[in-house]
């Protein structure tokens, strides 16, 4: 399992519209993506125009190849594209240490 971390900046004041749009994209597109496990959308407290999208994938290639180079990517971007103030910065991570999930 790997973690995609996408750093997203939206225009000021568009939070409600962005959250509705990304929610629709996550609900309708991601469940059809090969290797998709789970997601969280985190809204910035210090920077209200910043969001961190966390997506867990079974393997790196499920995101970098299957999703990004497949037919679902354009569909996904149609939801969030209009709200991207700058291109999102996306990197991938593997779990090094943990205390278990929050309960």
């Amino acid at each position: 399992m790997i973690l995609e971390v996408a750093d997203i900046r939206i225009p000021p004041g568009k939070n409600a519209e962005f959250e509705a749009a990304i929610g629709q994209g996550l609900a309708t597109v991601l469940p059809r993506a090969k290797g998709f496990i789970a997601h969280k959308v985190q809204r910035g407290i210090d920077s209200p125009e910043r969001y961190i999208l966390l997506i867990w994938w079974q393997a790196l290639e499920n995101h970098t190849v299957d999703f990004r180079q497949g037919p679902l990517f354009a569909e996904w971007r149609s939801f969030i594209g209009p709200f991207l103030a700058v291109p999102p910065h996306v990197e991938h991570f593997e779990l090094a240490l943990e205390s278990g999930w929050p309960r």
Copy 2:
């Protein structure tokens, strides 16, 4: 519950030493911090010198006031300080949307 996201850069080749040090800090200091819930240390795949530290706190002030301005902070920094290539970038987030935890 809020999420602290710390973006950490270490010097090249110091991964094993850094993970041992932050692991010790997380095991010995964080459980004594008021409002600490859980943590994950994510190692960069695209950028091997990059780590994302995720810490869930009960309230924002548990990190910004109780921890950062309290006696545990110097103790915590004694573990990870020697490995910080640049000052970590730290911001706080609240949960906007989720699909549940990975299973």
